[in-house]
Symmetry: D2
Subunit: 351 residues, 4 copies
Amino acid sequence: MTVNGSGHVRAAILGASGYTGAELLRLLARHPDIQISALTAGRKAGQSLERVFPHLASLELPHLAGLDEVDWDPVDVVFGCLPHGSMHDLVRRLPARVKVVDLSADFRLRDPAVYAHWYGLEHKAVDLQPQAVYGIPELYRDAIARARLVAGPGCYPTSVQVPLVPLLEAGLISPDGIIIDAKSGVSGAGRAAREEMLHGEVSEGFHAYGMGGHRHEPEIEQGLSDAAGRPVKVCFTPHLLPMNRGILSTLYVTLAEGVTADDLREELGRRFADEPFVRVVPREVSPATRHVRGSNHLLIGVCDGRFPGQARLVAVIDNLVKGASGQLVQCMNLMLGLPETRGLDQLPLFP
Amino acid sequence: MTVNGSGHVRAAILGASGYTGAELLRLLARHPDIQISALTAGRKAGQSLERVFPHLASLELPHLAGLDEVDWDPVDVVFGCLPHGSMHDLVRRLPARVKVVDLSADFRLRDPAVYAHWYGLEHKAVDLQPQAVYGIPELYRDAIARARLVAGPGCYPTSVQVPLVPLLEAGLISPDGIIIDAKSGVSGAGRAAREEMLHGEVSEGFHAYGMGGHRHEPEIEQGLSDAAGRPVKVCFTPHLLPMNRGILSTLYVTLAEGVTADDLREELGRRFADEPFVRVVPREVSPATRHVRGSNHLLIGVCDGRFPGQARLVAVIDNLVKGASGQLVQCMNLMLGLPETRGLDQLPLFP
Amino acid sequence: MTVNGSGHVRAAILGASGYTGAELLRLLARHPDIQISALTAGRKAGQSLERVFPHLASLELPHLAGLDEVDWDPVDVVFGCLPHGSMHDLVRRLPARVKVVDLSADFRLRDPAVYAHWYGLEHKAVDLQPQAVYGIPELYRDAIARARLVAGPGCYPTSVQVPLVPLLEAGLISPDGIIIDAKSGVSGAGRAAREEMLHGEVSEGFHAYGMGGHRHEPEIEQGLSDAAGRPVKVCFTPHLLPMNRGILSTLYVTLAEGVTADDLREELGRRFADEPFVRVVPREVSPATRHVRGSNHLLIGVCDGRFPGQARLVAVIDNLVKGASGQLVQCMNLMLGLPETRGLDQLPLFP
Amino acid sequence: MTVNGSGHVRAAILGASGYTGAELLRLLARHPDIQISALTAGRKAGQSLERVFPHLASLELPHLAGLDEVDWDPVDVVFGCLPHGSMHDLVRRLPARVKVVDLSADFRLRDPAVYAHWYGLEHKAVDLQPQAVYGIPELYRDAIARARLVAGPGCYPTSVQVPLVPLLEAGLISPDGIIIDAKSGVSGAGRAAREEMLHGEVSEGFHAYGMGGHRHEPEIEQGLSDAAGRPVKVCFTPHLLPMNRGILSTLYVTLAEGVTADDLREELGRRFADEPFVRVVPREVSPATRHVRGSNHLLIGVCDGRFPGQARLVAVIDNLVKGASGQLVQCMNLMLGLPETRGLDQLPLFP
């Protein structure tokens, strides 16, 4: 039906057969500056994209190749959607001119020991780690624009750091006692066939998980510690929602002396006034994941807590867009000097 | 966050507070040639769009006005999403230069008596009816391009007529005994607060409805009769799916003498080869509503029946896009001489 | 198909056309000691039960009558599922021998001023209030057994008080700073036709609500204050899950000096060891709403918090059973001297 | 919490870790005459039932054993929930006094060649096949009561044969041209971890499958042929619903000369008047899967077709109860001389 755009930037998507790969394809295939020049998959290498993603059959796209078959010559930018541990070696082998936006955790954590602890893998590119920039444009725009290698943040960490980093930087909330009660749709768990992600197991039910510790905890704490200027620990409880897309994080924070919840809302409003994708909603509005589904938007609500000196924030994103593939495209736009919103103007799909 | 486009064509959406209105807004707000100049609502007139559709709060759009408050001067095209019976008088009152694409049934049925029978309303614009063109571009493109008034088809009828009209015209199937077992998501029932559409009533369940007769029956039969050159009656059974978007129609047809299911697939493939939104899938592929969600696509599958001389077809659409608002935009593009796909290149949202 | 049991206790259900009414019918129609002698409804008075609840058409039950038509003579126990404010006068008018289990908030709050503040209604039975017993059998069993009037607790308050009251009574947690992040399925909102509860609005999405204050807050605080022996304030944030049944409350508490999360688990295990419906799960198990759907069970999980001196608890119930109708039946059993589990042995429905 | 019943009939469930196994446990654990004496599983052998089915953790049940570990001495009846092909040898090895109710297809098809064709397996118990009775009590009650070996029917075949067999036997409909448009929830596909059954793949979508032929076709045709007294072929199109439980089959039939749809309804009403689990609904009622969820009920609706001499029927069941485990228990009750409804009086769970 339609032909893949013939933009001047040639992109390769590694690990294109999962949900974040599909989402990248949805976005990049309509990005006016991008041409998709290579797609890879693991078990599904050799299959046509139509078979793996029938909803994308209207596109004329390369077949899914094995990682070893990729010719890097006609590639300007690489999107990594591979399992954790795959990118350390790979980045080293790529031509220096190729820019990399990676969705694995391989370059998110500055401390290799922390990476090894949480992912059970040795960090094999410790020398490259300092070059990696953490990819939240609303917080680290300039560094991303100059980077060759961007570490795309986790979905939960995006929903937490965008609202909290500015407040910690401004000293409006205490770095202590931050509680994050987070809820995610199932697409965050990926497309691997696991019993616990079957429709029969997941629909019409709800539970918490990872209460003994979750990999996104150190990632969140790294960002908040930077913002606070001292080590921050958070209490993070993720839950699984019986739906496909969306993360909502309910944040319980302690206000700095003399600060009110309204002050937080105003500060965030000021900070994000010119951001194309972040919106601070009025006091009486409750952000819902359905208000951002399919878009790169992030909404923040702020209201009083119930205790003196306490406030609550609610942040929502589509975990596959602002929480993953959309944010990668946003970073790529910055890295390439393109307008930041290029290819990302999809409005939310409701209902 | 973003500003409503300043295209040169000024559009008014009447009845913008329902699901088809929301979908028009999603599409038109990103249509490069369109500027939304007026929005109306019934009970919700006076409210801000942000309140009615929080997911669209990033747009700068007019408030919802009452129908009587609309200034038609800065309006080039009117999208009607009003209840059945509302457009007869209104179209008469509009300036002649204003083009109208209407989603109600008010101009779909050529015979006023049939309209009166099924909708319980007198047809009050019998004189205008002959000007109305039925809005399926893949079947009636040229007439639509010349029309001032387009009657947007029902969702079920779109899913049925696109595959069957060409086969009847080509004489490849019998006009007799056509069985349509159709299934729709709940958004087709609109946004009105009714007990039977509550989440608690609809989710985790499935049922047939309208078995004593459904308003889309005469609409389907009008189109198929035209194609067959003689009166056609169909057996139509709609069902309600526990999901928001999507229609799948399973069609049981009798082949003409000597014709095979493969012949049907080939004929449809030929007929729709250059269509940007219609795709005939290979024999082994089963079209799914999730392959078109959020897009203006229509997929058709063809396979053998089980009886000699029988074939089965499956057609899927997103009822709010190709089955409603997307098709309206497609018609408008034709009426205005714009590229037919303008503003309609959204890829399906999966998962 | 089957006949309504001819038990010796004659029960009337007032407001039987909603979800809690349906759930009472499901339970009572199979309760060996109960005969359902009267059903009432508001707008739906005069309709057959088959029409209102087709899934119960196999039962031979009375038609839905208006409240004024009920003959109280053949009634031993009344189940109240009426809107808040309806029971004050009614209880006064009932014969003294009739026992009452009420699901409205009319007798839950001891302080009439608190009732008036949160429900916007004057408390018209202040003299009867002291007779009302709050209906959580696991906490107030003896009083319930002696009561004529039981105030059935709210769904959220049940999920919160069962785990926390014993811990406060034992002095194992601090009464200060308790955070309740609660999530409920949509059936808790009842069967009234409201736009915000349509399938199209609720499915595939998630949001918080009532952040400015929720009626279950004072109810929770009343119970926790009793347990703590001093006023307790909680921070309560309810959220709406895209599913029909189930509540999960995530509770963040501060441990008393020297106490560990394991101590909490042990104390709750001891306290509830003989309870037929409450189970404290092992450390490594995460309670899920799907583990209790359709049953009167309540599961409690306990784990460490992330901060020193902090613990987290997770409690799950089916809001229509243990959170409403099932708990009413449990109370009625106690009030009538029947075995507490009579009619309540349904196992969870999974998947 | 509760103890497994100490009934006098000792039952073993083979393949207890899937959805039909869970459903058998739900039913049998509350069956007053049954004691569950053995449970087996394949990959999950050795695990506790609490781990495999946390929702059943309140029961005191045997651990999941390997098939080879089962001591058949304390077993009176065996429930087979094993993969197709497993029961042929096993039944031969069981003591003759042990009764067998099997849910696999191993004894459903009388013709071993048909079995081999559709299941790709040699029939290894051709000599035992004649002893096997097809387990739909409403059609074959007497034979089931005398049987040692019952072949539990498929879910789709149950929903089709119960309404159609009586009509064919009475000569009220033609054996020719029967169209079955069937829709099933996902639990019918079992609990195996397969990508296409993930929540992300299945929810919010709908598709047809098995259009090239489905294993339930020959099973349906065998039963209908028996009823018609001559070979019957049907056109069967199954679809997958985005929900867990429920089958709805829409049946298009040709009336015998002079017969009306009302005649069909009356005949079925007469035939099933005394059946505890089958109900023929009034003309204006549309059977819904949510009206039977969790129960052993089967509802049948009958209405006119649209063509002269055509009628439509709609049948609904819960595929895990009347379509699988509930029907097995019903058969067992008959085989053991117990009341047929024993342990099966659960009312539907709605919402």
